[in-house]
């Protein structure tokens, strides 16, 4: 039976602009409808490719100075002598602003990383054949990553636990190779993403620790021994936290 899903609805779903219950219904639908899943996967990669459009054009410093001096506090330079009382006020205001700007930048970077991680997880949900290595045996999945990523990590024994190992693949987060291991918890799929915390240039992906909610997914992240772990999925926070705990146990 052909699917009659409204395309605008799928787009609104990716834009996080639909109500929670609609979102849940759509997620269920995506698991059973390969057409919509393929459509979502195409939309996700289109968005990822478009992201650099945000910094395609950069203004020159000269132009920035020009506008700044046009709108800026030229007058206070001219009337500086009479304005002594204003300096402490402006300085305090500036300090507050700088803190605000730095904080906004940080949270923007953080939210971009979250977005990438979420996109990767969604594209896994959406893909019919999402793994490069398909195995429920950690002794198969772990060695597969050797030589494909520039770091090593351990997987806990899933036998007898609530989790089932589904497989893994190599993905990229912030242009760095990362390991994505997918685990099932009941009917929910959970992605574990592991990436090196610092690149050659020494940048650290800034993220706060603990369980957070992002695009209705639960996410837990932590850093250990130079690696950054993300556990993301629509399973409940408890399950995410238990899986995170198991991973922390074997990567101590």
């Amino acid at each position: 039976m052909p699917c009659t899903q409204d395309r605008a609805m799928l787009e609104a779903y990716l834009d996080s602009e639909i109500a929670e219950d609609q979102e849940r219904a759509l997620q269920q639908h995506l698991r059973t409808c390969p057409d919509c899943a393929a459509e979502i996967a195409a939309m996700v990669s289109l968005r990822r490719t478009m992201r650099p459009a945000a910094s395609r054009f950069m203004p020159s410093d000269k132009f920035r100075q020009k506008v700044r001096s046009q709108i800026g506090t030229q007058i206070s330079m001219r009337r500086g002598l009479r304005m002594n009382w204003l300096w402490p006020v402006t300085t305090a205001m500036l300090a507050v602003m700088i803190v605000a700007v730095v904080w906004t930048r940080q949270s923007a970077l953080r939210s971009e990383t979250f977005r990438e991680v979420t996109d990767l997880h969604i594209s896994d949900l959406a893909s019919a054949n999402p793994y490069d290595v398909v195995s429920s045996d950690r002794h198969t999945v772990k060695p597969w990553f050797q030589g494909r990523i520039p770091f090593a990590f351990n997987l806990p024994e899933f036998g007898g636990s609530e989790f089932t190992l589904l497989g893994g693949r190599v993905v990229y987060v912030h242009q760095q190779p990362a390991a994505q291991v997918v685990v099932a918890a009941g009917r929910h799929r959970i992605s574990v993403l592991i990436v090196q915390e610092s690149s050659a240039t020494g940048t650290v992906i800034p993220l706060s620790e603990g369980v957070a909610v992002r695009d209705s997914f639960n996410v837990e992240t932590w850093g250990r021994n130079g690696l950054r772990f993300y556990v993301i999925g629509d399973a409940d926070q408890g399950a995410i936290h238990r899986l995170a705990g198991a991973l922390q146990g074997v990567n101590g």
């Binding site: 409204d6 395309r7 834009d15 393929a38 990822r48 203004p59 506008v67 046009q70 709108i71």
Partner: protein
């Protein structure tokens, strides 16, 4: 302390406040202006005028409203009234039947899906540039500047429902532009 002196100080504070709030948006507004106009020189004029107008109107800007959407709206209106903006409006006939688009998901592996899969950035940028302004701007606001539908509605001065339908139509036309590009390459 006479009232003129007080007014001047107030104006001073206003400027300093505006500068601190509005300058962090500079790169984003400039990038958006370049995408809209297609020329760096036009974009510079546009951004400069936007900041001048915004400073003038800053007194009327009520705190708590979204400064970014407000600035983008000024930029957009300034662009539409500029020479290149008027030219764009003349050529870009946009039939915006403002209803909802009930376009079902296609079932075939369309050529543009293949192109998207390869994440061919150059082709996607070229396709985006080829879109009429109303389509280009709504995609930029949503996917590049990452605005919510509500913010976009404020920038474009249309209801949220229109944002949704216009976005959908714009993305469909982006993808058909990509498909056309792929066919050209194959030939």
């Amino acid at each position: 302390m006479n009232s003129r002196w007080v007014a001047a100080r107030k104006e001073e504070m206003n400027r300093a406040f505006f500068e601190q709030l509005a300058m962090p948006l500079f790169d984003q507004l400039y990038n958006h202006a370049c995408w809209l106009t297609g020329h760096r020189a036009d974009a510079e004029d546009l951004v400069q005028e936007t900041y001048a107008k915004a400073l003038k109107g800053f007194a009327s800007f009520s705190e708590g409203t979204n400064l970014r959407a407000w600035m983008f709206r000024i930029l957009r209106n300034t662009f539409l009234n500029s020479r290149s903006g008027l030219a764009a409006q003349m050529t870009d006939f946009l039939e915006d039947c403002e209803g909802s688009v009930e376009e079902a998901v296609s079932h075939e592996i369309t050529p543009e899906r293949i192109l998207i899969r390869t994440e061919n950035q150059e082709a996607i940028f070229a396709a985006l540039e080829s879109l009429p302004v109303p389509h280009r701007e709504v995609i930029l606001l949503c996917d590049v500047d990452e605005m919510s539908y509500r913010e976009i509605a404020h920038v474009l001065d249309v209801p949220v429902g229109t944002v949704m339908s216009r976005l959908s139509r714009a993305r469909a036309s982006l993808r058909s532009a990509l498909g056309a590009k792929l066919k050209e390459e194959v030939k």
